[in-house]
């Protein structure tokens, strides 16, 4: 499946190929959409859009990256669009800024209910820019080059963001450890 030559096929086979992609990477796409948008519904919608886009664009896929990287790139674009429009919706609905603390605890609550692993709670607290680079590297196992492609950044920027993400994580984990020791 990772070999994209198998995806160059007749039109009638395309839905099957997309279905194969869905089986292989659907959960990855959903998780990535969720990790970026922090919302279950948006992750559902984005995942659906990603595979519909894949259906339309499969014939344009040139195999320069792996199918997974390609799907993650589409996912990211959709997630960014979603974030942009949802930001504007939120700002227009509530002219005053929501209380950050309140928002955060509600978010943590939802994540806990979803059975998110402890380490990921810390990841979700990272600023989006650092979070996405860490996720692509540590979780999806992409190379610096692939991350740079997905994020449309230089490799240097990817490395420096990754470094900052790690330092923040170390700091957070240390603080958490301190709290646990005291408790």
């Amino acid at each position: 499946m990772e070999d994209l030559k198998s995806l160059k096929m007749a039109a009638e086979d395309i839905p099957l190929a997309v279905e194969e992609l869905m089986e292989a990477h659907g959960q990855d796409v959903w998780n990535y959409a969720f990790l970026l948008t922090k919302q279950r519904e948006s992750a559902d919608d984005i995942t659906q859009e990603v595979f519909l886009t894949a259906l339309r664009k499969l014939h344009l896929f040139e195999g320069r990256s792996s199918p997974k990287t390609w799907l993650l790139t589409i996912t990211r674009h959709k997630a960014i669009n979603w974030l942009k429009s949802s930001f504007l919706r939120r700002v227009r609905l509530f002219s005053t800024v929501q209380q950050r603390e309140l928002q955060r605890s509600a978010e943590q609550e939802v994540l806990a209910q979803m059975g998110i692993r402890r380490i990921w709670l810390s990841v979700m607290q990272l600023p989006a820019k650092l979070r996405e680079v860490l996720i692509l590297h540590a979780h999806y196992g992409l190379s610096y080059g692939d991350i740079a492609n997905v994020l449309e950044l230089s490799i240097g920027t990817v490395k420096s963001r990754l470094y900052r993400a790690r330092s923040r994580m170390e700091l957070m984990l240390k603080e958490e450890g301190d709290v646990n020791e005291k408790g």
């Binding site: 839905p15 998780n31 969720f34 259906l55 792996s66 979803m114 998110i116 692993r117 990841v123 984990l173």
Partner: protein, 348 residues
């Protein structure tokens, strides 16, 4: 994981991140089934449409073929009661068919220049035609309506033939439109139909102006505008606020720009009811580069006096990079003005 990272010692918690974030898969089976159905439905629809399109195009080709045959028979058959059709009856393809020139006012610098446009045809010949002029900045591709589609008549255009003949040899009649730098286009000659436009030139560089008559391209003229240093916008007082921009035309209540961050701002417009009704677009051009960002797309405004302006428009805007930028604002694709802004670096 087959594609593992470039060599780097990983901290212990890193390995934990390789595992899935959740105890159990979160993308539900139900949503997966739903997606499968949608995929197949969409695919069938696409293939069906392609099939239909193909049939339709084959049908259309056949029709054209048959019509050509009928026409050919009709033309070649000798006929007693009608003159034979010949190629000379066929209208020439639409193309430039008028000569025109433009005389920009003032110095060739950024700012509001004002311009007169002279089409070398009498007003009588042009009356009722729709004239439209577009301006395009060649470096950035930014295009706006220099003169939105306007019907030519006595209220919108001046007949220079009648002006000149009525004052005989007194050439000073047209002196108020006399260009300060050379006229672009045809050699000076008297007469023609003249139109005027505001000619706001918001950026230095090469501008090309294209004139259309009834939608038909009549050629372009190129204008070089000298480069000027980016300078911060002038400010002026309106109502209780200090605005940036062009007094009596366009004002920005600047909420502060920070690179990559969406911030709230408010635009103020002055003009007739018609001028302040329509769709607002905002473009940002980075100083000294050809980078153009379309930062606000076609949001509607209506007249509504506020803060001393005839219309206001609160919005959210984001400029991607720090530095000096110029915001270009159009209403219904007509340029209202340009406001230089300074964008602060992103907050870390």
């Amino acid at each position: 994981m087959s594609m593992k990272k470039d060599n780097e010692p990983a901290p212990s918690w890193y390995c934990e991140l390789e595992e899935t974030p959740f105890d159990k898969p979160q993308w539900s089976m139900e949503r997966q089934r739903e997606l499968r159905e949608v995929l197949h439905r969409q695919h069938r629809r696409r293939v069906g449409r392609r099939h239909w399109l193909w049939q339709a195009s084959v049908g259309a080709c056949l029709m054209v073929f048959m019509m050509t045959g009928i026409l050919w028979v009709a033309i070649t058959q000798p006929s007693n009661h009608s003159a034979p059709s010949t190629a000379s009856d066929v209208q020439p393809p639409p193309g430039p068919n008028v000569t025109w020139e433009v005389s920009p006012g003032g110095e060739p610098e950024v700012g509001t220049r004002g311009a007169s446009w002279r089409i070398l045809r009498t007003l009588k010949e042009l009356r009722g035609k729709e004239v439209r002029i577009t301006a395009t900045h060649e470096d950035t591709g930014f295009t706006f309506e220099e003169l939105p589609s306007t019907k030519i008549d006595e209220t919108t255009a001046i007949d220079l033939y009648s002006v000149i003949s009525s004052v005989s040899s007194d050439a000073t009649t047209t002196s108020s439109f006399r260009p300060q730098f050379p006229t672009l286009g045809v050699p000076q000659q008297d007469g023609g139909t003249m139109l005027v436009s505001e000619m706001i030139v918001p950026l230095p560089g090469t501008w090309s102006y294209t004139l259309y008559l009834d939608g038909v391209h009549q050629g372009s003229k190129v204008l070089e505008i000298e480069g000027a240093e980016w300078t911060p916008s002038p400010t002026f007082q309106s109502g209780a606020y200090t605005l940036e921009g062009v007094e009596g035309q366009l004002g920005l209540l600047n909420g502060g720009f920070r690179a990559g961050q969406v911030q709230k701002h408010m635009w103020h417009f002055w003009g007739t009811e018609q001028e302040v009704t329509g769709n607002v677009d905002v473009y940002a051009v980075q100083a000294g580069s050809s980078r153009l960002e379309h930062i606000l797309e076609g949001d509607p405004i209506q007249p509504g006096p506020l803060n001393g302006a005839d219309a206001t428009f609160p919005c959210h805007m984001m400029i991607p990079e720090p530095g000096q930028w110029t915001l270009l604002v159009t209403v219904n694709d007509r340029l209202v003005g340009a406001v230089p802004v300074e964008v602060e670096p992103a907050e870390e």
